[in-house]
């Protein structure tokens, strides 16, 4: 049973991840007073795209075709590292979060190169912005993980989230609160959500992530959409495990609570998107620097304790 559980967790995450964008959209529809898309829309989209025949630009090479594949593979591998409800996944080792960070980097690198392969001005623009924001997001994310490592005295994801308990919240509440805020800002920016980017925008000039994948179609686009859902799941899970340390010994109970937390986070993203306007592009670095400041403060608090 102990071998089966991590695999079950992995499968649950892999299968449920496309539900998160659905939840966000339902919340946004609720706020806008619209009927909105079905909750399972992304599943329908994926099924449809996988059956379609792609169109390729004559400019592109194998790099363009490999991009979505590499991105999705990197994110699935990252998912295999991710603890589920504070319990280790089947791939867990000392320093695994560094590996996770660089898997996200690989996904970004592959997407950016695929975008540049189209020779389009717009996709180049998106690629440039994506890389720019990464320069600010990565140190913020790193600092957050560093303070988490410092709080728990552990250097693996499973160790960090396993050592985090309700008791930690009562002793180091400011640290964890700052961390959560910082991770949430990074989540918004990395997953191209409002206020960093607008996934529903219709003007190529203002897009960031969406513009990089304009030329992809068919199964390639399905890979990209699925990868994006996984990425959202990944960041949400990091926040979820910080906010909601496990307390009961029951695997089923903890898992159910964790899943609830994930959907709650998706709903929170939906609320943010509904009530906040998008930032000007030039202001996005400031938002990420704020995230960095939060996690740096968290680390300073923790080191001073």
């Amino acid at each position: 049973m102990e071998i089966v559980k991590p695999l079950l967790q992995f499968l649950a995450a892999a299968l449920l991840a496309p539900l998160l964008p659905g939840v966000i959209n339902r919340v946004k529809a609720f706020f806008a007073g619209r009927k909105g898309r079905p909750l399972l829309q992304l599943y329908y989209d994926l099924a449809k795209l996988l059956r379609k025949t792609p169109v390729y630009s004559r400019t592109t090479t194998w790099v363009f075709r490999a991009g979505p594949l590499l991105g999705a593979a990197a994110l699935v591998t990252a998912l295999a590292l991710l603890p589920f409800a504070g319990r280790p996944s089947f791939l867990s080792f000392d320093g695994d979060f560094i590996f996770l960070l660089y898997l996200l980097g690989l996904a970004r690198f592959a997407t950016v190169l695929a975008a540049l392969d189209t020779g389009s001005a717009f996709e180049g623009m998106g690629a440039s912005r994506e890389m720019q924001f990464a320069v600010f997001a990565e140190p913020a994310f790193f600092m957050g993980l560093a303070s988490l490592a410092r709080v728990t005295g552990q250097t693996s994801l499973a160790g960090m989230f396993g050592a985090l308990t309700g008791g930690t919240w009562s002793t180091a509440a400011p640290v964890l609160a700052l961390l959560t805020a910082s991770f949430f800002l990074v989540l918004l920016a990395e997953n191209s959500r409002v206020p960093a980017d607008d996934p529903d925008t219709h003007l190529e000039l203002t897009m960031i992530h969406e513009v990089m994948v304009l030329d992809h179609s068919g199964p390639d686009l399905a890979y990209i959409l699925y990868g994006a859902a996984l990425k959202l799941w990944l960041f949400a899970a990091l926040i979820g495990s910080t906010v909601l340390p496990r307390h009961s010994g029951s695997w089923a109970g903890d898992s159910a609570l964790f899943l609830l937390m994930m959907f709650g986070l998706a709903a929170a993203v939906g609320v943010v998107e509904s009530v906040i306007a998008r930032l000007r592009l030039t202001k996005v670095p400031y938002m990420l620097i704020t995230a960095f400041a939060f996690s740096a403060l968290a680390l300073i608090f923790q080191m001073g304790r």
């Binding site: 059956r51 792609p54 630009s57 593979a73 591998t77 020779g119 001005a121 790193f142 390639d220």
Partner: protein
């Protein structure tokens, strides 16, 4: 050890033959390349053997130079640096045999090959010398041979300037090293490395500082890097690969040896190394993003990677002084592993840049584009190298940085200075990593992807078979050494033990074994996922013929290459943000009419450090030197008088 001598002999014979056959460029090429390859094969055997067994091999030959001894020492540390030297010079020679063909008749190829082989021999000598005099002989030989190679295209003013800057930096560095060795020799009454006993107190710090600047001028970390981005791109590409891949590592080797000579470390040494390394990796990555020429991008990336290595050494020193031997061991092991990995991927990248230069006739990013279609193999190999340089899984660049990160995070849990050092090191690594990813996606993207921006790029041709062989071999090594991380721990551990003492190195190797195995498992999972996704994609696409079309450009149906995002535009958001550091100069068009017809735009990256730090100092020194120019009047008789007077004074002093 005898095989190392054999390889030295082969290299020298190769140089002599290349010079003798200089009249016939083809045969000079063959002689140079064959002997270089044979020498590297002969040299790899003892180097690998010493690394696996951990046993030091020594050899002393009679030599009548005062204070010197012709003694060689091949310990695991030297062997660890020798392996990439032999690997890369061998492959560079194979590559060069193709690459230099186009220069036959235009350039003295015999001299170039002789210098190349002497450069290799000098590096071997530096790494195996067991005596300071012998070491300095190798050191200066290395500088002289590479100086000649930097001057390969001496008709270009830029090359001559680069070579002058390079030889000046080398000269200053050598002087500092002479002083360091003199101090060490004074306290131990011998110039044999084995007999060095460290001076105490302030003298030890003086030795450290002299060595730091002396070796730092070779390694090229900030602020001693100004010559590097000028000199490395000027040399022929396979020599750039050797210079950036392994030659600058002799500076790192020297630093590590120096730390070995000084058994009692001061904490501020560690902080100095850490600060220089952190500054170097951030500034190197940032400037590599702002360069417009492919080889200059790579040269700045070398500064970044040297910075990572030096930073890890600093972290190790701080951690070990603050009672965290395991963290220190992890940092040292990470530094060593990165030495190996960087030489593989940087060698590959410079060869790729050379292939671009060879195939398209230019390496200016704004003139390239679309090379992926015209030189598909080079593009694939270059992308593999770029992914390694960004430390992306599943390539090798990740493994070394991972160990440094791990050391940083382990240090983080410690109270006091070790924790702070860990934060600085980890943060610099993360920020530099993101900048490097931007720099390399920009360089690879503008050169190889999209549409060609000029006729030259449109007519580019694939590299020759030998060039492809070398690049392919290095790309494969980048992948394999990434997967083989856990197995590389043994040689890294023995080398680190030879350099820094046994127990911490072994403890670090033991504590790194499990995480590195995890990383390797992660790499395998990643590769499996890629394979799975690829197979699935095949299944989804079965029976379908993908349509061909235009790139979507907002509905515009006649895109041209000029509409593409260029290298400057790609970097602009970041270079603008960091303008206070980068100080790019250029001008934007100012639109004053309603229907502007023409506009021009220029943007140029500056050598900020050279312009704002070194040039003012150099001007001062030159002005000062002019006051003494009356000594240099060009009259031979008086020069002879100087010599005689000096000799008499020396004689009187000795009496």
């Amino acid at each position: 050890m005898l095989l190392v001598l054999l390889s030295l002999a082969l290299l020298l014979a190769g140089s002599a033959l290349a010079l003798l056959l200089a009249r016939n460029p083809g045969r000079a090429q063959d002689a140079g390349a064959y002997y270089a390859v044979a020498a590297s094969l002969a040299g790899l055997v003892p180097a690998v053997r010493v690394l696996l067994t951990g046993e030091t091999e020594t050899l002393a030959l009679p030599w009548s130079v005062p204070l010197g001894s012709l003694s060689f020492n091949l310990d695991p540390l030297a062997a660890f640096f020798l392996v990439p030297v032999f690997l890369l010079t061998g492959l560079a020679a194979v590559y060069g045999a193709d690459y230099l063909k186009g220069y036959a008749g235009k350039k003295p190829l015999g001299l170039a090959w002789a210098a190349f082989n002497v450069l290799t021999a000098a590096m071997v000598l530096v790494l195996t010398a067991a005596n300071a005099v012998l070491f300095m002989v190798g050191w200066e030989l290395m500088a002289a041979a590479s100086f000649l190679l930097v001057l390969f295209e001496h008709e270009r003013e830029q090359s001559r300037r680069a070579a002058f800057l390079y030889i000046s930096a080398g000269g200053v560095g050598a002087l500092l090293l002479l002083a360091a060795f003199a101090l060490l020799g004074r306290s131990s009454a011998s110039l044999d490395f084995a007999l060095f006993s460290a001076p105490a107190g302030a003298a030890a710090s003086a030795v450290f500082l002299l060595g730091l600047f002396g070796f730092g001028l070779k390694a090229g970390f900030v602020p001693l890097h100004v010559w590097l981005p000028e000199a490395h791109p000027a040399a022929p590409s396979q020599v750039s690969a050797v210079m950036s891949g392994v030659m600058i590592k002799t500076g790192i080797y020297g630093l590590i040896r120096l730390l070995g000579f000084l058994p009692v470390w001061e904490e501020w040494w560690g902080w100095t190394l850490l600060a220089a390394g952190a500054a170097s990796c951030l500034i190197g990555a940032l400037f590599s993003l702002a360069q417009h020429e492919l080889k200059r991008v790579l040269a700045y990336s070398s500064i970044e990677n040297i910075g990572i290595i030096v930073m890890a050494l600093g972290l190790g020193v701080v951690a070990s002084i603050n009672g965290s031997p395991v963290m220190a061991g992890l940092a040292f092991a990470g530094a060593l592993l990165h030495v190996l990995n960087h030489s593989l991927f940087k060698g590959l990248l410079f060869m790729g840049a050379g292939a671009v230069l060879h195939g398209a006739g230019t390496a200016e990013l704004e003139a390239l584009g679309g090379l992926g279609k015209r030189m598909p193999r080079t593009a694939a190999f270059f992308l593999a190298g770029a992914a390694s340089a960004c430390a992306l899984p599943p390539f090798n660049g990740f493994a070394g940085e991972f160990l440094i990160y791990l050391g940083a995070f382990k240090a983080l849990g410690q109270p006091g200075p070790a924790g702070l050092a860990g934060v600085i090191a980890g943060l610099s690594l993360a920020a530099a990593g993101a900048l490097a990813a931007a720099a390399f996606s920009r360089a690879a993207g503008t050169a190889f992807l999209g549409e060609p921006r000029t006729e030259m790029a449109a007519r580019a041709h694939e590299a020759g078979p030998l060039m492809l062989f070398s690049m392919g071999a290095l790309a494969l090594l980048c992948l394999l050494s990434g997967l083989a991380g856990p197995f590389l721990l043994l040689p890294v551990g023995t080398a680190s033990a030879a350099a820094f003492g046994l127990p911490p190195a072994l403890a670090a190797a033991a504590s790194a074994a499990q995480p590195l195995a995890g990383v390797a498992a992660g790499f395998l999972v990643l590769l499996a996922m890629i394979a799975f996704g690829a197979v699935k994609r095949k299944v989804f696409l079965r029976g379908k013929t993908p349509a061909q079309g235009l790139t979507w450009d907002c509905g515009y149906a006649a895109p041209t290459a000029r509409m593409q995002y260029g290298a400057s535009s790609f970097a602009q958001p970041l270079t603008d943000f960091f303008q206070p550091v980068l100080r790019k100069i250029g001008q934007y068009p100012v639109i004053t009419e309603y229907f502007p017809a023409r506009a021009s735009f220029s943007r140029e990256a500056q050598a900020v450090f050279y312009n704002s730090v070194y040039r003012p100092v150099a001007v001062r020194i030159r002005d000062l030197a002019y006051r003494f120019s009356w000594i240099q009047h060009g009259r031979l008789q008086l020069y002879i008088l100087y010599i005689v007077v000096t000799l008499i004074l020396l004689l009187l002093w000795k009496l």
